[in-house]
Amino acid sequence: MTEIGRIISYALVLVFAENILFSRGLGSDVVLRLSVNPKDFFRFGIILTTATMISSVIGWGFSAVVSLLNVDIANPSLRLLLRTLVYLICLSALYVAFDRFMNKHFETRYSRFRKAMPIAIFNTAVLGAPAILARMEIALANTANLNGFLAALFVGAFVSIGFLIAVALMSEGIKQIESMDLPYAFSGLPARFIYIGLLAMAFSAISGRQADF
């Protein structure tokens, strides 16, 4: 296969097979509580997707900086926790700066998004995307000869596109569920769980393995 063909197939794998919502469950705490208004979904979905993508890129930059510092902690979990703490501090600083800037210059337009921004930025999908990038970087360098910043951009873009598709499918399903005459015990959240379960079952035929964490 040519280079482009390999890149395209890897992109498709990222979008459908390694879908962070259906194969790993990340982001389900936000998706399962969505309201069904199409305008809200679109706005919120776009914010979520952009945040995921930017987070991947920043995460790459961040891990590059960290690896330069050569901090050596034995246990991988502790290392991960420390990195997460520092990453969250950076993300919070960026968010506060962004919030102040938008409030000062685009107040009226930003006021509509302001309430949704915190939860769109601090959720499991946005924090999980750079972790997935870290795990895929080696595979990406081997198969597609992409390194460094380009790899981060590539993975971030396609992971967030996959997440947007997943959120779109779930929003469609939630809209359908809300208009159905469900039995009382299954109304609301339980039907959404079952819906996402069945859809994740369908997507697991593309990935076909338990996503190894």
């Binding site: 498709l12 779109a168 499918l169 469609e172 399903g173 809209k175 359908q176 569920i177 159905m180 005459d181 469900l182 039995p183 299954f186 339980p190 039907a191 079952i194 819906y195 069945l198 859809l199 079952m201 369908a202 997507f203 697991s204 035929a205 593309i206 990935s207 076909g208 393995r209």
Partner: protein, 326 residues
Amino acid sequence: MKAITTSPPFIRTDNTPAAIMGRVLLCLTSLLICSSFYYGARMLVNAAVSVLCCIICEYAVSRMARLPNTVKDLSAVVTGLSIILLLPATTPLWLIALLACFAILIAKAPFGGLGHNPFNPSACAVAFATIGWPELMFKYPSVPQTLPLFSSDMSGVSFGTSVVESLRNFSLPPYRLSDIFFGAVPNKAGTGFFLVIFVCAAFLIMKKAIRWRITASCLAVFILIAFLFPRAGTGFTAVFYELFSGYILFAAVFMITDPATSAKSLPGQYIYGAFCAVLISVMRRYGVYAEGTCFAIIICNAVAPAIDRITVKTAGRRHVINAEQK
């Protein structure tokens, strides 16, 4: 007395759910009879177990929900039969019972029963089986054979590769074309009898029991994709192998036209059929399993209401614009 508002000939068609299901049931029963010619009475035992489990589950659900008995709709029987027709004939009986319960209790009952299920229940059950027990689901007994009636011990049975698996390996299937067409090759239990499926499709379309536009556009796009991207052989041979393998034809006639889960608007039906065909082809070529049609059907069912909404909105808008210009 009812005022008759139609003109002669006064052809009467029953359009109750039971009647529509009854016609589909007739077709599925004919497929079942064909398969029992090839696999012996084991198929009838399979069918009995599956249908009985479905009926018991449906009855239990309607009792718990204190609704009128929905078994009369015959939809449970249809689900039960389509499940076993999609599994290999050597599936153990306990697995069939489990899948029948899964289809009714998990894919259908939580959403409110007949007409409300967002996904095709038999597709969900087959998908669950494929993921959970792949070693049981891809062993196809060679035909013709008499399988043991009740036991799960398949040691005396010989197995063969199906056409789908040969296509997956990009090799020509080692069977004659006429054998493939008449279903005398290892395959899932009831989906290999393409002549019978054609006759059933014609019957159902005549009686307006299924949405024929979905079937037509799905098959057209599928044939186009098989022609443009052949896997074994070239040209019409490739199309023949792709079309008469696995359960694409069965799915196109019986599963994706399910009125509860497919697109309802007319332009939407064409788009939905085309989308199904594309997704099924992609699943076959790039999915994990050799025959991933059931997964593709689940994803298509999830997209169907979006297709409806988009086509209706566009059509409505155009109508409004045209009215304004007048």
